[in-house]
Symmetry: C2
Subunit: 195 residues, 2 copies
Protein backbone atom coordinates (compact mmCIF):
# COMPACT_ATOMS: atom_id res chain seq x y z
CA UNK A 1 0.00 0.00 0.00
CA UNK A 2 1.33 3.40 -0.93
CA UNK A 3 2.57 5.49 1.99
CA UNK A 4 2.12 9.25 2.30
CA UNK A 5 5.52 10.97 2.45
CA UNK A 6 6.40 14.56 3.20
CA UNK A 7 9.73 15.76 1.84
CA UNK A 8 10.44 19.39 2.62
CA UNK A 9 13.23 21.84 3.33
CA UNK A 10 12.72 23.71 6.59
CA UNK A 11 14.75 26.40 8.34
CA UNK A 12 15.95 25.59 11.86
CA UNK A 13 13.12 27.78 13.14
CA UNK A 14 10.47 25.86 11.23
CA UNK A 15 9.75 27.90 8.10
CA UNK A 16 9.47 26.45 4.58
CA UNK A 17 9.39 29.85 2.88
CA UNK A 18 9.90 33.48 3.77
CA UNK A 19 7.12 36.02 4.29
CA UNK A 20 6.91 36.64 0.53
CA UNK A 21 7.20 32.94 -0.33
CA UNK A 22 10.97 33.21 -0.94
CA UNK A 23 12.78 29.86 -0.84
CA UNK A 24 16.18 30.71 -2.32
CA UNK A 25 18.14 30.62 0.95
CA UNK A 26 16.40 27.47 2.12
CA UNK A 27 17.08 25.71 -1.16
CA UNK A 28 20.80 26.44 -1.31
CA UNK A 29 21.40 22.67 -1.04
CA UNK A 30 19.38 22.15 -4.24
CA UNK A 31 20.98 24.89 -6.30
CA UNK A 32 24.30 25.82 -4.67
CA UNK A 33 26.37 22.67 -5.25
CA UNK A 34 28.70 21.43 -7.99
CA UNK A 35 26.92 18.38 -9.37
CA UNK A 36 24.33 19.22 -12.03
CA UNK A 37 21.24 17.03 -11.97
CA UNK A 38 18.54 17.35 -14.61
CA UNK A 39 14.93 16.31 -14.20
CA UNK A 40 12.38 17.34 -16.80
CA UNK A 41 12.94 20.99 -17.58
CA UNK A 42 14.56 21.64 -14.18
CA UNK A 43 18.22 21.57 -13.31
CA UNK A 44 19.60 21.26 -9.82
CA UNK A 45 23.14 21.82 -8.55
CA UNK A 46 23.85 19.51 -5.64
CA UNK A 47 26.69 18.54 -3.38
CA UNK A 48 27.81 14.96 -4.04
CA UNK A 49 26.09 13.48 -0.98
CA UNK A 50 22.78 15.08 -1.84
CA UNK A 51 22.47 13.61 -5.34
CA UNK A 52 21.30 10.26 -3.98
CA UNK A 53 18.78 11.96 -1.69
CA UNK A 54 17.10 13.79 -4.55
CA UNK A 55 17.24 10.79 -6.91
CA UNK A 56 15.67 8.59 -4.25
CA UNK A 57 12.93 11.16 -3.55
CA UNK A 58 11.91 11.22 -7.21
CA UNK A 59 12.27 7.45 -7.53
CA UNK A 60 10.06 6.68 -4.50
CA UNK A 61 7.26 8.99 -5.54
CA UNK A 62 4.50 7.60 -7.75
CA UNK A 63 2.02 10.46 -7.32
CA UNK A 64 1.81 13.88 -5.69
CA UNK A 65 -0.70 15.89 -3.68
CA UNK A 66 -0.28 19.67 -3.52
CA UNK A 67 -2.29 22.69 -2.45
CA UNK A 68 -3.74 25.16 -4.90
CA UNK A 69 -1.56 27.95 -3.58
CA UNK A 70 1.63 25.96 -4.10
CA UNK A 71 0.46 25.04 -7.58
CA UNK A 72 -0.28 28.66 -8.49
CA UNK A 73 3.07 29.86 -7.13
CA UNK A 74 5.13 27.11 -8.71
CA UNK A 75 3.41 26.78 -12.07
CA UNK A 76 5.65 29.35 -13.70
CA UNK A 77 9.02 28.30 -12.23
CA UNK A 78 8.24 24.63 -12.98
CA UNK A 79 7.82 25.51 -16.66
CA UNK A 80 6.67 23.23 -19.48
CA UNK A 81 8.12 20.05 -18.00
CA UNK A 82 7.90 20.05 -14.18
CA UNK A 83 10.32 17.67 -12.47
CA UNK A 84 7.77 15.27 -10.96
CA UNK A 85 6.88 13.07 -13.94
CA UNK A 86 3.96 11.53 -12.05
CA UNK A 87 0.23 12.25 -11.70
CA UNK A 88 -0.30 15.12 -9.26
CA UNK A 89 -3.54 16.02 -7.49
CA UNK A 90 -4.21 19.64 -6.61
CA UNK A 91 -6.56 20.21 -3.65
CA UNK A 92 -8.70 23.24 -4.48
CA UNK A 93 -12.15 24.76 -4.21
CA UNK A 94 -12.06 25.78 -7.87
CA UNK A 95 -12.71 23.03 -10.41
CA UNK A 96 -10.28 23.01 -13.34
CA UNK A 97 -9.62 20.89 -16.41
CA UNK A 98 -6.74 18.44 -15.98
CA UNK A 99 -3.45 20.03 -17.02
CA UNK A 100 -0.70 17.97 -18.65
CA UNK A 101 2.81 19.40 -18.82
CA UNK A 102 5.56 17.19 -20.18
CA UNK A 103 5.41 13.94 -18.23
CA UNK A 104 3.54 15.46 -15.28
CA UNK A 105 -0.26 15.77 -14.99
CA UNK A 106 -2.25 17.94 -12.58
CA UNK A 107 -5.80 16.87 -11.69
CA UNK A 108 -7.90 19.24 -9.59
CA UNK A 109 -9.70 17.65 -6.66
CA UNK A 110 -12.53 19.67 -5.12
CA UNK A 111 -13.72 17.31 -2.37
CA UNK A 112 -10.87 17.61 0.08
CA UNK A 113 -7.47 16.27 0.99
CA UNK A 114 -8.61 12.77 1.96
CA UNK A 115 -10.10 12.28 -1.47
CA UNK A 116 -6.96 13.61 -3.15
CA UNK A 117 -4.76 11.25 -1.11
CA UNK A 118 -7.02 8.34 -2.06
CA UNK A 119 -6.79 9.16 -5.76
CA UNK A 120 -3.03 9.64 -5.49
CA UNK A 121 -2.58 6.28 -3.73
CA UNK A 122 -4.50 4.58 -6.52
CA UNK A 123 -2.30 6.33 -9.09
CA UNK A 124 1.01 5.67 -7.31
CA UNK A 125 1.25 2.00 -8.26
CA UNK A 126 3.91 0.32 -6.11
CA UNK A 127 5.45 3.69 -5.22
CA UNK A 128 4.44 6.32 -2.67
CA UNK A 129 2.50 9.58 -2.50
CA UNK A 130 4.54 12.76 -1.99
CA UNK A 131 2.83 15.77 -0.45
CA UNK A 132 3.89 19.41 -0.79
CA UNK A 133 3.11 22.67 0.99
CA UNK A 134 2.37 23.73 4.56
CA UNK A 135 -1.41 23.62 4.31
CA UNK A 136 -1.58 20.14 2.77
CA UNK A 137 0.94 18.90 5.34
CA UNK A 138 -1.14 20.28 8.20
CA UNK A 139 -4.33 18.83 6.76
CA UNK A 140 -2.69 15.41 6.33
CA UNK A 141 -1.29 15.44 9.88
CA UNK A 142 -4.62 16.49 11.36
CA UNK A 143 -6.41 13.75 9.40
CA UNK A 144 -3.86 11.11 10.48
CA UNK A 145 -2.81 10.49 6.89
CA UNK A 146 0.94 11.16 7.07
CA UNK A 147 3.26 8.13 7.23
CA UNK A 148 6.79 9.46 6.78
CA UNK A 149 8.66 12.76 6.95
CA UNK A 150 11.94 13.59 5.32
CA UNK A 151 12.94 16.97 6.66
CA UNK A 152 15.89 18.76 5.12
CA UNK A 153 17.00 21.22 7.81
CA UNK A 154 18.62 24.30 6.32
CA UNK A 155 21.17 26.13 8.50
CA UNK A 156 19.27 29.37 8.77
CA UNK A 157 16.91 31.19 11.12
CA UNK A 158 14.33 33.01 9.00
CA UNK A 159 12.41 34.62 11.86
CA UNK A 160 9.23 34.88 9.85
CA UNK A 161 7.48 33.28 6.90
CA UNK A 162 5.38 30.20 6.18
CA UNK A 163 5.58 27.85 9.14
CA UNK A 164 5.42 24.14 8.36
CA UNK A 165 4.01 22.97 11.67
CA UNK A 166 1.12 25.06 12.89
CA UNK A 167 -2.69 24.97 12.96
CA UNK A 168 -2.26 21.53 14.47
CA UNK A 169 -5.39 19.88 15.67
CA UNK A 170 -3.95 16.56 16.75
CA UNK A 171 -2.58 14.85 19.82
CA UNK A 172 1.17 14.59 19.97
CA UNK A 173 2.71 12.30 17.39
CA UNK A 174 5.62 10.04 18.24
CA UNK A 175 8.12 9.53 15.48
CA UNK A 176 10.72 6.89 14.81
CA UNK A 177 13.90 8.38 13.42
CA UNK A 178 15.00 6.08 10.62
CA UNK A 179 17.89 7.91 8.96
CA UNK A 180 20.11 10.95 9.41
CA UNK A 181 22.37 12.12 6.61
CA UNK A 182 24.51 15.14 7.18
CA UNK A 183 25.63 17.09 4.19
CA UNK A 184 27.54 20.40 3.85
CA UNK A 185 24.52 22.62 3.16
CA UNK A 186 21.73 20.73 4.93
CA UNK A 187 20.89 17.96 7.41
CA UNK A 188 18.46 15.31 6.22
CA UNK A 189 16.41 13.53 8.89
CA UNK A 190 13.85 10.88 8.03
CA UNK A 191 11.09 9.85 10.43
CA UNK A 192 8.22 7.37 10.42
CA UNK A 193 4.99 8.21 12.22
CA UNK A 194 4.39 5.69 15.02
CA UNK A 195 0.75 4.60 15.24
CA UNK B 1 35.95 36.12 25.25
CA UNK B 2 33.05 34.04 26.51
CA UNK B 3 30.51 33.06 23.87
CA UNK B 4 26.77 32.88 24.43
CA UNK B 5 25.53 29.31 23.83
CA UNK B 6 22.02 27.96 23.65
CA UNK B 7 21.63 24.27 24.41
CA UNK B 8 18.05 23.07 24.21
CA UNK B 9 15.91 20.08 23.38
CA UNK B 10 13.27 20.89 20.75
CA UNK B 11 10.54 18.79 19.14
CA UNK B 12 10.65 18.47 15.37
CA UNK B 13 7.86 21.06 15.25
CA UNK B 14 9.79 23.57 17.30
CA UNK B 15 8.48 23.28 20.87
CA UNK B 16 10.66 23.10 23.97
CA UNK B 17 7.78 22.22 26.31
CA UNK B 18 4.16 21.22 26.07
CA UNK B 19 1.20 23.54 26.71
CA UNK B 20 1.46 22.88 30.46
CA UNK B 21 5.27 23.10 30.49
CA UNK B 22 5.67 19.30 30.25
CA UNK B 23 9.10 18.20 29.04
CA UNK B 24 9.10 14.47 29.82
CA UNK B 25 8.66 13.26 26.23
CA UNK B 26 11.18 15.76 24.90
CA UNK B 27 13.74 14.76 27.51
CA UNK B 28 13.59 11.01 26.91
CA UNK B 29 17.21 11.19 25.77
CA UNK B 30 18.21 12.59 29.19
CA UNK B 31 16.28 10.11 31.31
CA UNK B 32 15.44 7.06 29.16
CA UNK B 33 18.89 5.55 28.59
CA UNK B 34 21.05 2.99 30.40
CA UNK B 35 24.07 4.98 31.53
CA UNK B 36 23.54 6.76 34.83
CA UNK B 37 25.21 10.18 35.06
CA UNK B 38 25.20 12.19 38.28
CA UNK B 39 25.59 15.93 38.51
CA UNK B 40 24.87 17.70 41.78
CA UNK B 41 21.62 16.33 43.14
CA UNK B 42 20.40 15.32 39.66
CA UNK B 43 20.78 11.98 37.96
CA UNK B 44 20.42 11.42 34.24
CA UNK B 45 20.06 8.15 32.32
CA UNK B 46 21.68 8.47 28.93
CA UNK B 47 22.47 6.37 25.91
CA UNK B 48 26.22 5.82 25.56
CA UNK B 49 26.69 8.36 22.75
CA UNK B 50 24.90 11.08 24.68
CA UNK B 51 27.10 10.96 27.79
CA UNK B 52 29.84 12.95 26.09
CA UNK B 53 27.33 15.53 24.84
CA UNK B 54 26.04 16.25 28.33
CA UNK B 55 29.48 16.19 29.94
CA UNK B 56 30.77 18.63 27.34
CA UNK B 57 27.76 20.92 27.83
CA UNK B 58 28.44 21.18 31.57
CA UNK B 59 32.18 21.45 31.02
CA UNK B 60 31.90 24.33 28.51
CA UNK B 61 29.55 26.38 30.63
CA UNK B 62 31.04 28.87 33.08
CA UNK B 63 27.86 30.83 33.83
CA UNK B 64 24.15 30.72 33.03
CA UNK B 65 21.40 33.17 32.10
CA UNK B 66 17.79 32.10 32.60
CA UNK B 67 14.36 33.68 32.68
CA UNK B 68 12.36 34.15 35.83
CA UNK B 69 9.65 31.80 34.60
CA UNK B 70 12.13 28.98 33.96
CA UNK B 71 13.67 29.59 37.36
CA UNK B 72 10.30 29.47 39.13
CA UNK B 73 9.28 26.29 37.28
CA UNK B 74 12.57 24.50 37.76
CA UNK B 75 13.45 25.54 41.29
CA UNK B 76 11.65 22.58 42.83
CA UNK B 77 12.80 19.82 40.42
CA UNK B 78 16.39 21.10 40.58
CA UNK B 79 16.35 20.60 44.36
CA UNK B 80 19.05 21.57 46.84
CA UNK B 81 21.96 21.05 44.47
CA UNK B 82 21.04 22.04 40.88
CA UNK B 83 23.25 20.47 38.23
CA UNK B 84 24.86 23.67 36.89
CA UNK B 85 27.56 24.35 39.51
CA UNK B 86 28.21 27.81 38.09
CA UNK B 87 26.93 31.35 38.76
CA UNK B 88 23.50 31.80 37.15
CA UNK B 89 21.80 35.12 36.40
CA UNK B 90 18.01 35.28 36.45
CA UNK B 91 16.45 38.02 34.31
CA UNK B 92 13.45 39.35 36.18
CA UNK B 93 11.44 42.46 37.04
CA UNK B 94 11.35 41.46 40.72
CA UNK B 95 14.49 42.07 42.73
CA UNK B 96 15.53 39.17 44.93
CA UNK B 97 18.39 38.30 47.28
CA UNK B 98 21.03 36.07 45.73
CA UNK B 99 20.19 32.39 46.24
CA UNK B 100 22.93 29.79 46.73
CA UNK B 101 22.07 26.13 46.36
CA UNK B 102 24.88 23.60 46.56
CA UNK B 103 27.52 24.73 44.09
CA UNK B 104 25.12 26.86 42.04
CA UNK B 105 24.23 30.49 42.74
CA UNK B 106 21.33 32.50 41.34
CA UNK B 107 21.66 36.30 41.11
CA UNK B 108 18.61 38.30 40.08
CA UNK B 109 19.19 40.91 37.40
CA UNK B 110 16.52 43.57 37.00
CA UNK B 111 17.96 45.70 34.20
CA UNK B 112 17.49 43.37 31.26
CA UNK B 113 19.03 40.54 29.33
CA UNK B 114 22.01 42.48 27.98
CA UNK B 115 23.10 43.33 31.48
CA UNK B 116 22.63 39.71 32.60
CA UNK B 117 24.73 38.45 29.68
CA UNK B 118 27.44 40.96 30.54
CA UNK B 119 27.55 39.84 34.16
CA UNK B 120 27.53 36.19 33.10
CA UNK B 121 30.41 36.72 30.68
CA UNK B 122 32.44 38.33 33.43
CA UNK B 123 31.68 35.37 35.71
CA UNK B 124 32.32 32.66 33.10
CA UNK B 125 36.12 32.94 33.21
CA UNK B 126 37.58 31.10 30.22
CA UNK B 127 34.34 29.17 29.68
CA UNK B 128 31.07 30.18 28.02
CA UNK B 129 27.63 31.48 28.96
CA UNK B 130 24.73 29.05 28.63
CA UNK B 131 21.23 30.44 28.18
CA UNK B 132 17.94 28.69 28.98
CA UNK B 133 14.29 29.18 28.14
CA UNK B 134 12.34 30.42 25.11
CA UNK B 135 11.99 34.03 26.22
CA UNK B 136 15.68 34.53 27.02
CA UNK B 137 16.59 32.84 23.74
CA UNK B 138 14.32 35.18 21.79
CA UNK B 139 15.64 38.22 23.62
CA UNK B 140 19.24 37.17 22.96
CA UNK B 141 18.56 36.53 19.27
CA UNK B 142 16.76 39.83 18.85
CA UNK B 143 19.62 41.67 20.59
CA UNK B 144 22.24 39.93 18.43
CA UNK B 145 23.82 38.31 21.49
CA UNK B 146 23.66 34.61 20.56
CA UNK B 147 26.84 32.97 19.25
CA UNK B 148 26.13 29.23 19.11
CA UNK B 149 23.16 26.88 19.17
CA UNK B 150 23.19 23.24 20.12
CA UNK B 151 19.76 21.92 19.29
CA UNK B 152 18.80 18.45 20.42
CA UNK B 153 15.95 17.46 18.10
CA UNK B 154 13.55 15.03 19.75
CA UNK B 155 11.62 12.68 17.44
CA UNK B 156 8.18 13.97 18.28
CA UNK B 157 5.56 16.39 16.96
CA UNK B 158 3.95 18.10 19.95
CA UNK B 159 1.47 20.23 17.99
CA UNK B 160 1.27 22.84 20.72
CA UNK B 161 3.28 24.23 23.61
CA UNK B 162 6.12 26.66 24.18
CA UNK B 163 7.72 27.49 20.84
CA UNK B 164 11.45 28.20 20.87
CA UNK B 165 11.60 30.42 17.83
CA UNK B 166 8.91 33.07 17.76
CA UNK B 167 8.47 36.76 18.57
CA UNK B 168 11.48 37.27 16.35
CA UNK B 169 12.38 40.82 15.60
CA UNK B 170 15.51 40.27 13.58
CA UNK B 171 16.62 39.87 10.01
CA UNK B 172 17.34 36.34 8.92
CA UNK B 173 20.35 34.76 10.57
CA UNK B 174 22.71 32.55 8.62
CA UNK B 175 24.20 29.68 10.55
CA UNK B 176 27.24 27.52 10.04
CA UNK B 177 26.56 23.92 10.93
CA UNK B 178 29.58 22.72 12.86
CA UNK B 179 28.62 19.27 14.12
CA UNK B 180 25.87 16.67 13.78
CA UNK B 181 25.72 13.72 16.14
CA UNK B 182 22.95 11.22 15.71
CA UNK B 183 21.93 9.18 18.68
CA UNK B 184 19.09 6.68 19.21
CA UNK B 185 16.71 9.05 21.02
CA UNK B 186 17.73 12.43 19.63
CA UNK B 187 19.71 14.22 16.91
CA UNK B 188 22.21 16.82 18.08
CA UNK B 189 23.02 19.65 15.67
CA UNK B 190 25.43 22.42 16.54
CA UNK B 191 25.48 25.76 14.72
CA UNK B 192 27.48 28.97 14.91
CA UNK B 193 25.83 32.27 14.13
CA UNK B 194 27.50 33.88 11.10
CA UNK B 195 28.01 37.62 11.54
Amino acid sequence: MAKVLLGVTMSLDGFIAGPNDEVELLHDWLFGGEHVFYRGGSSFRLDAGDVEILEEAFWMTGAGVIGRRTYDLAEEPWGDDPPFHVPCFVVTHRANEKVVKGETSFSFVTDGVESAIEEAKAAAGDKHVGIMGASITQQCINAGLLDELQIHIAPIILGKGIRLFENMDTDLIKLEKTKVIDSPRVTHIRYQVIR
